[in-house]
Symmetry: C2
């Protein structure tokens, strides 16, 4: 009799956003007259930019003609896209990353879930608390997390690095030595950014203890401050200790197109083994490349027209972030994030729990946000709002919250 | 110091098709004048059918308008596609599969690499020999395969089920009891098909011993014979023991678009745990859905126009298969497959090894095929040709081989 992977049974409840979706469906089902405004899940709402639509149409036409049809893509991505990424996201910022260090994928969620596979099952994992749930859950499924303490909401074998108002939501170096360190800046969910000087401390630490940093930079397009790095490779030595994960979802609206990439430097090795070679082998065996048409859409992100159009999109969402941040602050809420991030992180009022505030907002303001406790015990008493709605809805949602 | 997953180090050499690609690049680099005909990798060559191109353009237009833009897709796939699959691939053939038992993915390669994750690490895996390399390699990476015997080309903990001319390339029930049984029919690489009566024996066996069959039906569109089942769910009891994997690559030319699906029946459980729930959790945590535009393209496969156009594509490739099969048979080769499959499996002449014949064909006929030994030790002395080239190239390749 085959046995199942019983690590899955340790997972408490369902994935955070599935739970929110269910609650919202139930509420809207019983209140069909209400106009619900969703500032919960970090999903974009503006349509794809004209340069991207145009690239998609052209690529679709190519797929319809025998002379230009493309079958299997190269496992690691088309050169045209890998070159564009290396040039615009890295070399233009002074980071010496080559095209063949870029692994094109169908998104940072998949990469951040899969990347743990190339490491030993006894690796000690360190995560921020609160944290994007995929980092923890994928390690639970693999068997690295130990046992769940349902009272504390923590896993016995995971090293938690508290991100609190006291440390401006940027963690201290941990007391216990981790093997794998998940960092995400600008952060999901807190919206906090890290300065280059602070990130350099993490790079130095990882190099010293032989850990690998899995650096999620999915929100880098929202950075406005000069001393905040867009890539971990802006720090000295990062190519010896860090894998960077990037996404086209938040800078170009690709949540429904699915495109991202991982950077695994060729010189990054542990125990004499190249992590670049391991990830290439994983891609070659268990993945078959992102769709050609979507990779052409990705290329258009770096075109002159694409850049100009996307700068406008980012500015639109930033204006929303600004409105939420200032509006809630004026109303007396304690808020952070928002400056280098599309996420606003707020303290729930009157000592409410995160889910109490979720229910309150849904039922009294018809606004959907994300309970901070869904991101780990350190998120309890906090709440995340996103800037990805329309400006009109964002204004209306903030006004409704202020009127509570 | 973090340690790597040293199961990866056990893998011998690189993925089969990467090695072939390298050899062909080197040969064509040093013989730029030669016209190389590729009948190796199972990649399609006909452009996407007009109904699919039209669906893609419409969906791209939707993504460019605010009113119709779509962000994150449902993890498990859009209902319009899951409904179409359930209706046309299953209910139309008398299989009681519901839409919510369909898990839309970015292809059968990914699914067949990932599906092992939901099972225990001590599961005993049984594979046909020869076999599609992904089934074995993904289990090696997970740590289920034991140690590699480089002389025998086998893994100590894998149960091999020989597929030989003597059993018409359909395996016997194994002596040792497996937990997970990978079956692929019509088969890659041998092109062999299984009758419904023979497949029923496998279903009965799996139900008896509590094993789960992972049934890869990526080539079902090539079936021509009446007693060959298109789905394992045509067999009684299969919903209690089988997961089926399907692809849009070979029936609709989606190798470069990436779309497939897994069927995990809701009633399929082991140890009281629903495998449907486990796979849903895996999808929700580590995957983010196939692109909306690609799912609309998948829907078009089932439209009246799509069906008619794709029947023509399949007929075109079948004509190639027929030409290769008959041409090589007339030339004195021992050939099988081809009748219910786009693959022709031939015995290498004069006792040549598979790679010797590969080099011979490449250098003397400028034809690329796939060495049978790349699919496991049981493939030694065999060679795979595919029907996915153009008709003109297929005829030319066969004529060149006949002239050797």
């Amino acid at each position: 009799m085959v046995k199942i992977n019983d690590n899955y049974l340790k997972l408490p409840g369902s994935y955070l956003f599935s739970t929110i979706g269910k609650k919202v469906r139930e509420y809207s089902g019983s209140h069909p007259d209400k106009k619900i405004i969703r500032l919960g899940i970090g999903d974009v709402t503006l349509p794809l930019a004209p340069a991207i639509i145009s690239a998609l149409h052209s690529a679709v036409d190519e797929m319809g003609r025998a002379e230009t049809f493309r079958g299997y893509a190269p496992d690691l991505g088309y050169d045209f896209l890998r070159e564009a990424i290396a040039e615009h996201d890295y070399r233009a910022r002074g980071c010496a990353i080559d095209a063949d260090e870029i692994f094109v994928s169908d998104g940072a969620k998949c990469d951040s879930g899969n990347i743990q596979e190339i490491f030993s099952l006894d690796s000690r994992v360190a995560v921020c608390d609160p944290v994007y749930p995929v980092y923890v859950d994928s390690n639970v499924m693999a068997g690295r997390a130990g046992n769940y303490d349902s009272d504390a909401g923590t896993w016995s074998d995971v090293i938690y690095m508290p991100c609190t108002a006291d440390n401006a939501f940027v963690p201290e170096l941990p007391d216990e030595t981790p093997d794998l360190i998940y960092l995400c800046f600008p952060n999901n969910p807190t919206g906090a950014a890290v300065t280059k000087a602070r990130l350099q401390e993490w790079v130095d630490y990882a190099c010293k203890v032989g850990a690998v940093i899995l650096y999620d930079a999915a929100y880098e397009a929202y950075i406005t401050e000069d001393d905040v790095p867009h890539s971990i490779y802006e720090c000295d030595g990062a190519k010896s200790c860090a894998i960077e994960l990037r996404s086209f979802s938040k800078n170009a609206g690709f949540t429904g197109l699915r495109l991202g990439f991982a950077v695994v430097p060729k010189g990054l090795e542990r125990g004499g083994v190249s992590l670049h070679a391991l990830w290439a082998r994983r891609h070659g065996t268990k993945y078959n490349g992102a769709p050609y048409i979507v990779q052409r859409a990705g290329e258009a992100v770096y075109s002159q027209a694409g850049k100009a159009q996307l700068a406008e999109q980012i500015a639109y969402y930033r204006k929303n972030a600004d409105y939420i941040y200032k509006g809630l602050k004026e109303a007396g809420y304690t808020v952070s994030g928002g400056v280098n991030s599309p996420y606003i992180w707020l303290k729930t009022p009157k000592g409410m729990s995160s889910w109490e505030f979720f229910d309150c907002l849904l039922e009294k303001a018809d606004v959907v946000g994300t309970p901070g406790s869904g991101f780990g015990p350190g998120g309890e008493g906090y709440f995340r709002l996103t800037a990805f709605g329309s400006y009109e809805n964002t204004v209306e949602a903030v006004d409704r919250i202020r009127a509570l």
